[in-house]
Symmetry: C2
Subunit: 286 residues, 2 copies
DNA sequence: ACAAAGAATTTATCATGATAAATGAATCAT
DNA sequence: ATGATTCATTTATCATGATAAATTCTTTGT
């Protein structure tokens, strides 16, 4: 499942940062002298930016430690409140975590998937994302995705997919179970996305799935339990895994294409407008 | 109003929000179990959440006003610092803006595209995004995009595209000009994405373009000026617009497919190292 | 040896002003 | 009128502790 050498570049040496003249020198003292341009950034933002620069320049990795609050106060010359707000910014962006206690402090943290998803969801809160929009993309992406995946998956990956299918083996008796099964079937797509080995592709697939999942949970979509549709859904998954195992990309693509069409029709038959709400805050422990 | 506080948060009342991504922490009461779900939310996070709930419940729109700092302090029963940190969280997420002066205060704000892009870029900072990854998606999306767009664009849209093409009319004499032209050609794709009318699709196209643009700006990619390639690039754009105007989706798709292939080869031919850096912070006024 | 209690450490929050900066409105000088 | 000035309002930042909470390390008790 690994494509030829695709040079996975990382760690740029000179990777400078936004050249933005954050040029907010921290002269503790005479502020307004040559201040022709207005203050673009608040001080907490400036501090946050400086810390980001620091992370980039030093090539800090997740788990690495940043100076503690008191040291920042001294080194950056800002008040405690300002520093704290800056840390809060970075924490919101998902780039740091703070821990209390001995050995605690501020640590670099890789932005979690959940947080990125949540932040992106906020962006779409004021947009009108329709089911059609989402499926326009899904119908584009997922068939090709499985076509590429065909024959490239190892047994472990295939079994992972089959494990998800297994959770929908029993006929659901309650709406609760039915909902869970639907979520599981969405999970199926997430796994496919991850297996592509393309972080961007995987992320997008997951995002779409998350939006759809929200619909399911909060709008009681898929409420009417339809045995035939359910069985059809299961069948497609089974056949898909079969095609993937056989390395039959054409079939996989066809199966997924058909499924996308069906799923879209199903969803559109229900509600057409996506629930307007912020997604969760992704507290992402770890 | 209420005496100091013990740890109190509103445990997701009403189920409007909360619970998404990552996990379902349906509190059962038993503290320690398979999921060491420690550390709930910090208070600033709780406050931020409450304000989000408020926004959702009241259906507040961009421009609407939120209570000012002092009122929040009183109504929510938290200290000023806590409130400020909460506001900083929301500001970082792009959901509010604060203004000083008379008539100033805290206002709901639609998350700007730039901010969403920057936040998403943070996520990919610690990932290894290769050019191949990006083009895998581009090659999937953009050909179909133009195929759908064919014949659906009004004259204004077409002229918008042509205007961008026009900027690359003159043969560039300096690397500077050459770089600007390349950026303009990327802009071409952004416009196509927007014209789709699909917010999600447009966003993804823009994100890809932004990542590639970063490359161009910071890594001197496309440095060697190649007249033939340049001309070929221009030609494809012209022919594409032509096909779009004629409503010839098949041709449009073919043209774009070819272009994607060429562009990817070009990018990969360079020592394309994806710049590891945080994108700008998107101050995005209005 | 091992588990529970305690101590030490570090961030989190609270509390309380005071001063600075930004900005729209009203006012005043020309 | 019109441009500059002052004023009032509201957030932004600074300053300075004092408590609280969460962890890890250490010391006990059995």
């Amino acid at each position: 499942m690994q494509p030829p050498v695709t040079t996975r570049y990382k760690a740029a040496s000179g990777g400078q940062l936004d050249s933005v003249a954050s040029g907010h020198q921290v002269d503790t003292g005479s502020p307004s002298e040559t201040a022709p341009e207005r203050k673009r950034f608040s001080r907490p933002q400036s501090v946050a930016r400086q810390l980001k620069d620091w992370i980039v320049e030093q090539g800090l990795q997740p788990g690495d430690r940043l100076p503690g609050e008191p040291e920042m106060i001294e080194r950056l010359g800002h008040a405690k409140g300002t520093i704290r707000e800056a840390l809060r910014i970075l924490e919101t962006e998902g780039l740091i975590k703070t821990r209390t206690g001995p050995g605690g402090g501020v640590f670099v943290h890789a932005v979690s998937d959940a947080r990125a998803q949540a932040l992106l969801a906020n962006y779409f809160y004021f947009k009108d994302l329709s089911i059609r929009d989402i499926y326009q993309l899904r119908r584009l992406i997922e068939p090709e995705l499985v076509a590429e995946l065909a024959g490239r998956l190892d047994e472990a990956a295939l079994q992972r997919l089959e494990a998800v299918i297994a959770t929908t083996e029993q006929v659901p008796h309650t709406p609760e179970e039915e909902r869970e099964q639907h979520i599981a079937s969405l999970e199926f797509h997430c796994i496919l996305g991850e297996l592509s080995g393309n972080p961007l592709l995987g992320f997008i697939v997951r995002f779409q799935v998350n939006v759809l999942r929200e619909l399911t949970v909060h709008r009681k979509l898929y409420e009417p339990i339809n045995p035939e549709l359910r069985e059809a859904g299961r069948a497609y998954q089974c056949r898909l895994v079969q095609a993937l195992r056989a390395g039959d990309g054409e079939s996989a693509r066809a199966i997924m294409t058909r499924h996308m069409k069906t799923a879209q029709a199903m969803m559109e038959a229900q509600e057409a407008t996506i629930a307007q709400r912020f997604l969760g805050d992704s507290t992402t422990g770890k």
